[in-house]
């Protein structure tokens, strides 16, 4: 049976994330109470895992590193069809950059045991580095294909996938075990079902901290991160706006006149 690990991130709700701002005076982050949700592209990763489970039979583990409230996101994945949920949570994990995140996730994967496939989203909505998947793969010495938009062929040992390029795609053969990062083109994520939620109630979430993973404190979180934030500043715009008013038709005509005067529109 296929063993799949899906890495999911709890992110500030993208609809409300713009409430987290840099304070112009203190230059510190103003933390609005934005709820954590499942990272949008990780829904596609979860969906891919559940479809593989339905098609071939699979054991699906969900792995997330985050603060204690991220447990809700892991729970959601259990309700979507995952068999096992693991939250890597510890004060020492806080402040991790992509490298420290990938390092901690790698130790989590090793504790879960053997795997055939690790699925990640292409990007998270808040960090959006796209680094965690490829760095995780490297730290596990596992091949990776990023931007997977279709799984074309499932062999015993090799899979064939389609991966996005700018203006086109490539077809890649990859040897399992492998890491794939997925795009929204891959599938349409299902919504939570009532029966899924009921079934998930019986499934346990394991929470692992730094002692469970048996790693030194210098290797994780802010201490284990090669990069740090050195400064935050606010931006001032240099443009002076002229508002165009009038009825809808007048506004359209006035704008056209401005554009024509600036040489952007020509009449025949």
């Amino acid at each position: 049976m296929l063993k799949i690990v899906v890495c999911v991130k709890a992110v500030p709700d993208p609809e409300k994330a713009d409430q987290i701002r840099i304070d112009p005076v203190s230059k510190a982050l103003v933390r609005a109470d934005v709820p954590l949700v499942l990272n949008p592209l990780d829904k596609n990763a979860m969906e891919a895992a559940v479809q593989l489970k339905e098609q071939f039979g699979a054991h699906v583990s969900v792995l997330s590193m985050g603060p204690p409230p991220a447990a809700n996101v892991v729970k959601e994945c259990l309700a979507l069809g995952a068999d096992q949920g693991i939250l890597l949570s510890d004060r020492a994990f806080a402040g991790a950059d992509a490298y420290a995140t990938a390092y901690t996730l790698a130790r989590g994967v090793e504790k879960i045991g053997s795997y055939d496939l690790i699925l990640c989203g292409r990007a998270s909505s808040d960090g959006s580095t796209e680094w965690v998947g490829p760095e995780l793969a490297t730290l596990l010495d596992t091949p990776i294909v990023t931007m997977v938009e279709e799984i074309i062929e499932y062999g015993d040992e090799w899979w064939k996938v389609k991966s996005g390029l700018d203006n086109g795609y490539r077809v890649v053969r990859v040897k399992l075990p492998a890491v794939l990062t997925v795009t929204r083109e891959l599938n349409t994520p299902r919504t939570l079902s009532f029966s899924g939620i009921i079934k998930a109630r019986r499934k346990q979430i394991s929470q692992w901290g730094i002692d469970d993973l048996d790693i030194p404190e210098q290797a994780v979180g802010l201490k284990g991160s090669p990069t740090i934030v050195s400064e935050m500043t606010t931006q001032e715009s240099t443009r002076e706006v002229e508002m165009i008013s009038g009825t809808r038709e007048e506004m359209a005509e006035r704008l056209i006149q401005k554009l024509a005067d600036a040489g952007f529109l020509a009449s025949s």
Partner: protein, 333 residues
């Protein structure tokens, strides 16, 4: 012969070629690497992997490289994650670069992470500026939380960063610049767990974003596919390239290729029209040097109006069809 001692390791650019042509972003990064290297008192070294690249290697020297490490082999013709990573990591261990820059292309969204994890160093994605501070440490600027965040990699080396095409200007080519090409050999004992079987290139539709004189960008305010089609129609009558914000991509109204901003494309049109978008910095940093900027938004308090030359407060779903109609009238007048 005298040997020059450098206090800092070289500034590296990983160049990228497609079918033997070096991408514009690679030239731009070499231009910027030159500036950083001159400040540091260090050489610029460029890694170019591919096949039949003697000519392009010379162009990289003309753009500012002191040394081009050239891997010229049929096995390198297309980006191969395992071979490329191994070659770059080995050379980095030998040359100890201070800085390593790569373009934010599909390759540049994967390869630097494979290299950074092997070298256990930091890596910053989609930078909109890269400057040396008073301690000669690279400040890697990215937009975030309505402002600008500066990220540094204080201890580990190299300091790695990616930037999109258009963030830095293209350098003047000086064919009289001296420089040398050093060959790289393809290592034999690579695992080969990934194999590219086929590459399919599709011709993009319409005006290409990066070189368009006029850009019409739509955002979440389009509301639905119907609202989006109106914005597409506006782009068409203005012979403009169509751009988008992330929510428009997330809703599936348009492709990722049209996204403008920090993690998308950087455009430098003469005229930019933003429709139904809020002017979030992560989008706005993707518009560089536009002469005239216009915004249409139904909320008079939207921050987008602080960043443009002309503003119109209206429901774009109502306003855009009228605007299209009036433009057509004007054009046939």
């Amino acid at each position: 012969m005298t040997t020059v001692e450098f206090r800092h390791g070289p500034v590296w650019v990983i160049a990228e070629q497609i079918e033997g042509r070096v991408r514009a972003v690679s030239f731009q990064l070499i231009g910027h690497a030159r500036k950083l290297a001159d400040e540091l008192g260090a050489p610029v070294e460029v890694i170019l992997l591919g096949e039949s690249l003697d000519e392009p290697a010379q162009q990289l020297i003309a753009a500012g490289a002191d040394t081009v490490y050239l891997g010229d082999d049929p096995d390198l013709a297309f980006y191969h994650p395992e071979i490329y990573t191994e070659m770059i990591v080995r050379l980095a261990q030998e040359r100890q670069p201070e800085i390593m820059l790569i373009g934010s292309t599909p390759m540049g969204r994967e390869l630097p992470a494979l290299v950074a994890a092997r070298l256990r160093t930091g890596l910053t994605a989609h930078c909109i500026d890269l400057v040396l501070n008073e301690n000669m440490i690279l400040e890697q600027k990215v937009p975030g939380y309505g402002g600008l965040i500066s990220i540094i990699c204080p201890e580990r080396r190299p300091q790695m960063a990616t930037a999109a095409r258009g963030v830095f200007p293209s350098p003047e080519l000086d064919t009289s610049r001296p420089g040398r090409v050093a060959p790289l050999v393809v290592p034999k004992e690579i695992p080969h767990r990934i194999e590219t079987l086929e590459i399919v290139r599709e011709e993009p539709e319409g005006v290409p974003l990066e070189s368009a004189a006029v850009v019409v960008a739509g955002g979440a305010g389009a509301g639905d596919p119907g609202g989006w089609r109106e914005i597409q129609g506006l782009a068409r009558v203005l012979n403009a390239a169509l751009g988008s914000t992330r929510p428009a991509v997330d809703e599936g109204w348009t492709e990722l290729e049209t996204m403008i901003g920090q993690s998308g494309k950087v455009v430098s049109p003469e005229l930019y029209l933003g429709v139904g978008l809020s002017g979030e910095l992560q989008h706005m940093v993707g518009i560089v040097g536009a002469k005239v900027m216009v915004a249409v938004n139904n909320d008079a308090k939207s921050p987008v109006f602080e960043q443009v030359d002309y503003g119109i407060v209206d429901d774009c779903r109502e306003f855009v069809p009228v605007l299209i109609e009036k433009i057509r009238e004007y054009q046939t007048k």
